[in-house]
Symmetry: D3
Subunit: 335 residues, 6 copies
């Protein structure tokens, strides 16, 4: 089985119980997450041979992050133990008119401070079929951006398919560069790009044209600007309140444009990781189905399911995602 | 006060916290439930003199099951201590597009392996007005089916009213017989039958006729097929997602057909036991109200309330159910 | 900065976990609340210099109540240690068709039994700009009613603005007087009155006229009846189920009548304290904005946010309330 | 089987988790206890037909207290629903040099305010073999003392054996009488008295004589002073720290004096209810064994086991207590 | 690195919180354990390349068991998905004079019912250096005993070192054979045997001789009786109460006898798995140290540390065990 | 009342439940602590007017730290909101032979990176009687050391008494200086020094002389080396295991040497903060008692009590500490 590699950061996530505000109770749920780690875990849950590449500190927190990845069957041989701390974030779950809230505490993390010779990409990509990165790691530090670029270049050079989720996070870009200074260069080495409308504008500088630009036009503009891309997936997340929204997406390649089914999300349990679940679903579908519109449907259904699962990770199986694709959303107890 | 007897199984129910998937946290909520025990507890909460008859092992798990029944005022003198284990089930609560999930672990339970002379029905039914059974116990083993049949026969012979909830569970019928091999024979001894449309087809072999068969026609077909029945209640559970649905039911006897009010369920807390709450509500209403349509309304409201209560048991009082029947669903804080 | 003083009771609130019924698990969430304390905490969270005046027992429970107020920055120098017990209440959170339920256990509390010389209002109101009371404390005992009246009189005499939330609680009025025997006298000393339609009828004896009396007419009637009032705010809480409802309000003074935006509440986390959050929002807005309709909008948005926060207290900042006023209810994660 | 009746109070017990101080976390363990209820539950756990007589309010708190008794098989038909509130107490578990701490909140409880005609002792004692009371209920109010006395008188008149545990609690005696004003009169109607050295002094006015009075002499003095007593048990609790101590007791009747084995308690989990476990053990042993020294050994072992069990109740079986009496304290896992 | 293989059962372990009795709270800690799995996890924590061979059901419970092993780095490719259920056990933690208590519920488990062709030992042992089994799996069923024997035979045939921990559990031997009918035959294929004194008697039929037989003599008797053994380790567990005891062991091979240091255990957190930690420590030490007495010291220290860790697994590193061996038991905070 | 000022860091402390290892469960207790904050909280619990001076980030984590201090009545006006993150540490509670373990994550904290003009010491010390610092903040960064020195200088210049707890933490000194390069200079400005034997060696370069140097000699050497000191307290912590140890201390000033009582600690609940509790006790005693040996006894008893309380803070009152000083360590329930 071909190997799938994700590169980026794994974070400790600290969240108060239920819908409480931060430190309302003297207790925090402590799990692991982070955009790229979320993709790796979901791919492993889909049964793919998956490896996660990152750096974590050589202490009990780093060891726990590795153990958690291992629990899902994610390969961890590519994880380097170095640096001083695991990045972490505090999450407060919103409700109704109160939005969820993230407080980042990732400065000085092992991956953010990793030098350029940290990873031996030739060895790490040996036998790999796919490399996934996101726009979050390049947002951390100049060196993390360079590491991401090096990974993509090495992959491209070996004929490994590269996917990238733009994942614009405005608060993270603080080292003096703007996303548009960095991301377009990275996208030169990408085959499958995932972006929201905001990502297109903030990371790629492709603002929606005035007035009623369609998704067809926007994705066409992306492919035109980045002709080496095989395809671009545009995620169409709608948000009505902290608990309610909808998910759909569209996919364009040179030959075609397709729009997915749209899922109403009426009771969101945890929206963090919803985009990562989409990315993993798309990667899985890309290699599992001949038909790219099926891959897209799989990805959207995977993301939809993620919203019902606590934590960053999409603990859903291929069978569960396909069950939803094929229409079983009745909610009857399965027994 | 006349005594109400339920016969069947009490199970240990193990569920992860909140909406988590199984074993996401190293903790399980551990309570007791099971279709027939649920009916007994609800009847006791309605103030009826109720007895539960089953077999549980002579260990701490069996003792805790008995203590829990006692807590609600259910009589436990008819419980025999025998066998090796209490059946149990794992429950994962779904959300939105992710359905709830049950993993049964009931093989070899005390009631499933109980020999035919375990219960002295003459003594157990002495002074009883009502016996309730369900189609779950007969699904376990040949001997459990025979025990259930013996209970119904003994009740019928003594003039005790017998109710049965068909409760089709496809995964449980594994001992070589199909429900249609067993349940029709049992229903011969029943006065009040409770069934869903699926139950009618799977347990009684009465499939909805092609196209648009009405509930009126289906219930008429049941009464025609089982002429000893006094009445049949058809439950009309609608499920839109793991959190949303609706409940209504209709009731037919020789003289009349009535359809209940329909309740929208917009925020289901725990749907397990919703059918059992209906059964208990119908039994309560049957003896409390001269008018059977009032009994039906009570039953549907009871089931509706159950969906808002965590656990298998319907911890609702007659006053609360009647409050809902008479229209107080405003949700204002009661103080 | 001018000082805001609230007078009334702080209670221990005991609630089972999640949506459980009382004592379903052997554990209770134990926090503090109570109408007037809720107003004080919200004012402090809005950054105002706030003081809470009450009596609590000289034991660990009273000490914890004071510590909790202090945590939010509420001044506690005006709290007298006396009496035998802190009042408490049990709260059961409803769901869907099952309403929430309060069991009061406040008899004999420190404030209910406090003698008339307990508080030195001249000292307590020195430097104060505002006094807030509610109709709950006067409901407890004759002496508590007299204490409340004395506070309002002292404030009025010093030129301190007085607000009062009628807060009718039928179950509390048990000492032989009806609210209409007590509250109108109190309102004589009030500048800003907050009431629901039910409050108008039960506390002020101003029943909605037959048929379709408008909110405009009702508030006009209140001002006519109590000419010393500067303004009256009428809260328009709608309740569809335990989880769903809507909030709006209107405000009338001598010169104008304005109606607020109406917020749908589709997933209520905790509705207790929603009215108190409105009162605090109105007091805050009254002094922060020249425009009273802006004050009203702030108050309604504050109340709306409170419904998403567990506990009695509205742990929301001015920035968060203004965010909602200005339309950010998209529910996207804030990161 | 003869019936055992205990009369007194059942309380709600609120305790922070583990060794935390009160309100360190916003959560309290909420269980039920109280000296006389503890005796009833332990007797029921020993398999005796036990009834508890008290008054509890007609609300959800009272209902939960009854349900909890029922769970252990204690009969609750003699419980009257009346009054305003269930008494409660806050418990903070000490550790090492920090003693445990109790904050009572029992004023105005249903039993403390119950009028003299609340209980029909003729009916309640019909068929009873034993009545147990304690010195705690008489400490609450004059009426509660009178109720206790009436119970003992009625029992004595019917030939029912009466036991009383003096249970001196200095903080509770606040209604104007001292224990020595009340308890000696009560003890006139008692057959089996249980007391500590402090109880003898504070409740009976029998102070240890100067210097080295022996337990033999003290118990002799008690029997001399109260000649109607059949026997007196003197509990000899030693306390070295919050976690460590020792238990032993001696028993004197007209014919003999015996001293029990002494148990070191090296890791006390919960010392509340240890004395009640002794009382229940003595009552059980009194009727189960011909030899009173065996009864005493059973009682001391029961109390010793209680110290290892969280909560007020002694959830230990006869087999477990006898196991300890017969020397199995090895601590090996029982499997 | 050579591979270490353990064969046996992994169980779900259900335990009430803290020192509570079973079902005192409606919550159970749900983790995984079982003698042989415990050895595998400890070996993986020591950094060895470890594989666990067993059968688990093809459901979510079986999947969680595998994920948990993976988390610690244990290889799970040798785990066969078959059968109906994962065995489980309930554990109640004792305290002081109350011993811990295990209620088994392992009947009909996947491994207990596995047919003889379930495992391909040639493949599983390919490249392996060590096989560990215990006397627990042979206690379950005749087929499980045969599977264990087959594993040992296959290992021996390939020159793989075989260790066996006798682990006598009287309650498990219920299929008609006694340990002495089965274990001696198994031990013929073992190189390193681990046994307690009770194991020697119950499993091997080697009762301590009358009077004061020494450990030297007993181990010599074992080696004499089973001449193919390289060595036998005798565990010397002392138990004073549920919380206190001591651990030491001795080791005999053809050439020498050595006795370990003895550790006082003054505050046992969890004694389950203490013996398995010893076994894993001995296996680790056997291959890590030239000197067998060092291996023994490592094993005893590992077991000692395990008693301070909640759960079945010994989550201790080589560095931590060696730290204890070399005398750092001061208990100062490591910072 | 004179004001007491402490300067240093407040940290978020993350600890797994009970005796679990880090990340054994996906939950962390999240409270606040840190050596100097601990002293401030304890002083406030003793009823002193206390102010804590530090820098915390302007986010929800910093806000919660301030709220927690406020809860205990600590003044927080001197806290500056700046920088990127609150320092934190992970704590694993040991047991028996397994020591507790701290993993620091304090790099880049608000106080560690604060520039020299962050605090206006003239304003902060206005009206102050006492300043307390520790050797932990100087260990963080060169700037933090300079801030501490500036604080001490400013205090000294104003005649404010200065105390310092050396608090050697080897792992923290990583910025290129050794404690002996920094601390002696700081101690020049100190009146009351607190140190352990290790502190004397590592921070002051005063190694115990060869062989049997007495505590008298060591403290004399400290006073000789730092003649501006009024007194030095030497803490004599003994540690036998993670749960057991002993506490005593001695105090030397120009005129006298006194040795405290020694407390056995047989069941340590939480040893973190034990030294800080001593420091606070000594500061309290210094101003409350004329007799310095009484101050020392108070300090040692305070530290002893702290070991029984979960969390960093010593939530003990003066009455409780004095209770222990005067000999009430019986452990009887206080009711």
């Amino acid at each position: 089985m071909a190997r799938f590699v994700a590169f980026g950061e794994i974070l400790l996530r600290l969240k108060p119980p239920g819908r409480e505000r931060l430190f309302q109770s003297p207790m925090l749920e402590a799990i692991f997450g982070g955009a790229e780690a979320n993709v790796a875990v979901s791919l492993a849950c889909f049964g793919l041979d998956t490896e996660f590449v990152t750096a974590v500190p050589d202490n009990d927190v780093g060891a726990a992050a590795i153990a958690e990845l291992r629990r899902f069957g994610v390969g961890t041989r590519g994880i380097v133990r170095r640096g001083e701390r695991l990045g972490l974030y505090f999450l407060e779950a919103g409700a109704d008119h109160r939005p969820s809230k993230v407080v980042y505490d990732r400065d000085g993390s092992s991956i953010a401070t990793a030098p350029q010779d940290t990873f031996d990409w030739n060895a790490l990509l040996d036998g790999a079929a796919w490399l996934h990165v996101s726009g979050i790691t390049p947002a951390l530090t100049e060196s993390a951006a360079a590491l991401t670029l090096a990974a993509c270049r090495a992959a491209k050079a070996r004929g490994v398919t590269v996917s990238c989720d733009c994942n614009y996070r405005g608060k993270l870009w603080r080292y003096g560069k703007r996303p548009v200074d960095v991301m377009p260069n990275l996208v030169q080495h990408v085959d499958l790009l995932i972006a929201s409308r905001e990502d297109c504008e903030k990371c790629l500088g492709i603002a929606p044209a005035a007035g009623a630009q369609t998704d067809e036009a926007l994705t066409a503009a992306v492919l035109e600007r980045f002709p080496k891309l095989t395809a671009v997936a545009l995620t169409l997340r709608e948000s009505q309140s902290a608990d309610r929204g909808a998910w759909s997406a569209c996919l364009r390649d040179a030959a075609s444009f397709c729009m997915s089914r749209r899922y109403e999300l009426a009771n969101i349990v945890d929206r963090v990781g919803g985009g990562d679940a989409f990315a993993a679903g798309l990667i899985y579908g890309w290699q599992a189905y001949a038909d790219r519109s099926r891959a897209l449907e799989f990805a959207v259904a995977a993301s939809c399911l993620k919203h019902s699962i606590p934590g960053d990770f999409n603990r859903a199986s291929v069978a569960e995602v396909e069950g939803l694709v094929h229409g079983d959303a009745s909610g009857r107890v399965q027994r």
